[in-house]
Symmetry: C2
Subunit: 589 residues, 2 copies
């Protein structure tokens, strides 16, 4: 079993599985219905479709594009369905329902499937990655039926979110001139961890030495990443609901000094890092509307919005919903590196003069997702996950170096891991969602030219379902998590390779039973995202259970690979990503 | 009367008048209906709306967005209405009917107006610029009624036109290796004029010395501009139907060696002029879809398509249809200067590396239309016509210099006119559609800094309705046409200023009765677009009548302002724009 990937997920696109599982952990362990269950369900009277045309006291509205014969939804129903769709479905299926990591759900397709099929599919999910929204209890029967009716109608184009809408959400809680001029607290900011508390819509600031939760700060829902300004003073977090919080770490206590909503769904935020522009600008990328916004780094004032709708890099056809995935700040130019998922364009957005904005569109590969710099900071490597490839950009020259097969299924590097390979020199590594492969790509075109931008080695980890791979310049170890592996034992543990062992033909890994070490016995105890402290001598893992269950953070001694500490606290609700502020700020990974 | 503008047109946006008149010259002289005519028409039985639901043998289709109660069109009707809309209406009202130079025609508005109002408005037009499509006979009664029904439905999103669609239209009639390696004909290419024969879908190549029509070449409909490659060998023309012809002037006879359709509606084509890139690339900008395409300069092979949908420069809200207006090739950088109308962004598109395409978006002003370089070739001045402004770009530094009020209504410079003003030094001049004003803008920030980028003078010409202003470095005269002035005498003549007279407080102009000189007595004899020969000693004007009437080209001696020659030929159908190939190639204007 150990080397088996998530086969269904891999077939249908491993990220679909990821997104679904991330969204559905509350019911991840519900049994799937057997065919006879489905049969039985279809024939129950309660399953009969009765469009609620006669709801009293509710105004009937015309939905966009409603045709004769389409089920009609009341305004309240439509609004509810819309909200459910954006929160639960749009991430995979796309807001225009044209399909992305999930399948297309346009009415030409849904009408062929019919109401009952849709209802049952939403209720019971599929092994391919569709969550069982109904049988998990996440959605009530009426809500499932509402969604099935909703899907028979044309997609509602969600609202645009331009400067006016952004400004309406913009709040500066503490103006710049009311902020302290020096650090007012005793926090060791560079060894602080910003930890996403996914389902509570918060982050926890945890001290890297004492492991104490210093502060909990209210944020958007399911903060996707934390980023730190070049000076180290300001922490930026962005929720999946597209809310950006700017937190001043010099205040006592640290608090949100500004916030801005940049759309209805988003994933990425970054700050300007180039010399002379430290702390000056920030950028946030949205899933909907498909665009990014450059903001003032001290206030989040939205300055420049740029749409990403345009042509796919390869077939050069128009795409209405090219979502903004990872963004990093270049060290070599005053630029942000913006990855546009559906079109496969990597944008180098120059912030030197935003009134005369220079953008270089690099034709790379579709389904760009996440990635990071090589150790020199010059090259950016990004997974084109559904294409099983990695695109490499030279941020100094502003052009594509190449696109390579990752040699595994659905690479998901996070920011990846940089290490000195005993045979191949400097390499950048990624693990995979769809299988057990860990791939190493040479990143040194100067001294190791023959290995540069090639997959020089692949090794087998525990299995598929990996999200993050991690090491540190001072470490001799490489950690691979497998939180989305369906095998509970694998998902609750991590594999560790000794870097020097990578010289051998079939390097072995050691398994660390992090879930077991956490002391938690309930739940699937998914172990996710190793993160080093500033010193690079310990690694933190989230043991991530559902909201109703206990979660924890387990700290491992990097030298000995022994348990060092367990952080358990009832405030630690569904911890996922952890960002050591020094490593994040300096792109140490 | 002489100084009266087209008041109605000016109020509603002079360009609307232009577009409408350009589209409607066949019936420009039909009398407008009186209110009692309209009343009478409204009550005739024939005016009753009967949606043709029962057409036999035609398949009924669902149009996009059809709602219960909308008039239903058969597929054939829908296709016909769509075609009429794109050919006749989209130029002003926009393909998405959101309004531009014409009014918005979305169903929320059209339904309030109702079928009969729409039908009558389409039939009789309005003094504000709407042509009388019905009473002119341009559209039959059934077609007018069809359009009224069509407008009650949601706009049909016209098809996208990506790489596949372009490639499907791409034809290389003569491959590069089958073309001559030297000029095979005896044409004096640099003194050739490429003349648009608007309604016949052709261009005429006319010798500048003999005035002989050397060749007529079939092109797209209503060629909007001609441009010449840097070497002078290749002539590019683009029709309003978005068809680009590449004509090899070395062949005997010159002929179309490649063609490409770049969308369903377009206005602009240009070639790469920067040193080292001569003849290498071409670019075409489309109205629909809103995008531009970079092509191979020798074959028109489409290489890179870039969408222009995005944010308005000022309110930063998403616009679904930002059309590409004028494009010029920079002399200072390997860049095309692409003017995006609705968003007011001027794009500097760098063609040095089109795989890693660098585009600078300059926030300028909305409704960018046409413009040209200053005499140094460094600065580009473009009219933001509905905003009555001129935006100036420094193509060397790649940024906005400023945006100035033109001090007239709806500037329409064509490429403008550069001259050495006796008081203010080098200036660039524009006339106006909406009034009689001619404005001079200082363009010499080195030696005449105090005048640079200011309107240093305005003078009054004959009246509104001007499209083009013209002079030449060797000339002492400045010509202003007024083809769209409703006064027949004004539209059939041009005003000429002596440049040295501009030093006086109220400079006088001389009127040249070009229409009368043509010897044509029928029609409105609209005199349009002065164009110099290569030597700069004569100016050519089109005397532009409808397709069924005689037209001509009148050649004026620039020194004496006397008639030099009249070109009349039955093949000279609706001549409009004329492009002397040397002046066009070298940006002499």
């Amino acid at each position: 079993m150990r080397r088996t990937g998530i086969l269904g997920a891999a077939k249908l696109g491993g990220v679909a599985a990821l997104m679904m599982l991330l969204a559905s952990t509350a019911h991840a362990q519900q049994p799937k219905p057997s065919p006879s269950d489905l049969q039985q369900h279809r024939t129950t009277p309660g399953g009969q479709y009765q469009p609620s045309l006669d709801v009293l006291g509710e105004q009937k509205v015309e939905q966009p594009g409603t045709k004769p014969g389409d089920p009609v939804l009341s305004k309240a129903e439509f609004d509810q369905a819309n909200q459910i769709y954006f929160e639960r479905c749009a991430g995979c299926h796309g807001v225009l329902r044209k399909g992305a990591t999930g399948k297309a759900l346009t009415p030409d397709l849904t009408k062929k499937l019919g109401f009952e099929y849709l209802r049952d599919f939403i209720t019971y999910g599929s092994p391919g990655g569709m969550p069982n929204w109904g049988s998990s209890g996440e959605l009530k029967t009426e809500q499932v039926e509402l969604m099935a009716r909703y899907l028979l109608n044309d997609p509602a184009q969600p609202p645009e979110f331009g400067m006016k809408e952004m400004k309406d959400t913009w709040k500066v809680a503490v103006p710049v001139d009311k902020r302290p001029t020096k650090k007012m607290n005793n926090l060791d900011i560079d060894n602080l961890f910003s930890v996403t508390l996914r389902d509570s819509g918060e982050i926890a600031l945890i001290d890297g030495k004492t492991k104490k939760i210093e502060h909990i700060i209210k944020t958007g829902y399911a903060v996707h990443i934390s980023r730190v300004s070049a000076s180290g003073r300001y922490l930026f977090v962005i929720g999946r609901d597209a809310k950006v919080n700017l937190i001043d770490l010099w205040m006592d206590p640290p608090q949100t000094v500004a916030e801005l909503k940049v759309g209805s769904e988003a994933r990425s935020v970054e700050t300007s890092k180039f010399k002379g522009y430290e702390d000056k600008f920030a950028i946030a990328g949205s899933y909907w509307p498909p665009q990014f916004v450059i903001m003032d780094g001290a206030t989040l004032e939205p300055l420049k919005i740029v749409g990403t709708r345009g042509m796919t890099y390869d077939t050069q056809e128009y795409h209405p919903e090219p979502r903004v995935a990872a963004i990093v700040g270049s060290h070599y130019n005053p630029e942000f590196v913006v990855n546009v998922k559906e079109t496969g364009q990597i944008l180098l957005v120059n912030y030197r003069d935003i009134k005369n904005l220079k953008v270089t569109s690099i034709a790379a590969e579709r389904f760009l997702h996440d990635g990071g710099f090589d150790r020199s900071g010059r090259y950016f490597l990004v997974a084109a996950n559904a294409r099983h490839k990695v695109a490499i950009v030279d941020t100094k020259e502003g052009k594509l170096v190449g696109v390579v097969e990752s040699k595994g299924q659905t690479p998901h590097p996070g920011r990846g891991a940089n290490l000195n390979h005993p045979k191949f020199g400097p390499v950048w590594a990624t693990s995979h969602l769809g299988d057990e492969i860990v791939s190493f790509i040479g990143t040194d075109p100067q001294k190791n030219k023959q290995h540069a931008w090639k997959v020089v080695q692949t090794v087998a980890g525990q299995g598929g379902g990996s999200l993050f791979i991690k090491t540190h310049p001072k470490s001799e170890h490489l950690y691979i998590d497998t939180p989305l592996n369906p095998d509970a034992e694998i998902s609750a543990s991590v594999a560790v390779f000794k870097i020097k062992d990578l010289a051998s033909a079939e390097p072995k890994y050691q398994v660390l039973p992090i879930g077991q070490w956490s002391g938690i016995s309930e739940g699937q105890r998914r172990v996710v995202q190793g993160e080093y402290n500033q010193a690079g001598d310990e690694v933190w893992f989230s043991v991530w259970n559902t909201k109703a269950q206990d979660s924890a953070i387990v700290v491992v001694d990097d030298k000995t690979l022994k348990l060092k500490s367990v952080i358990r606290d009832k405030r630690l609700i569904t911890p996922t990503g952890k960002f050591n502020l020094y490593n994040t700020r300096k792109d140490v990974y």
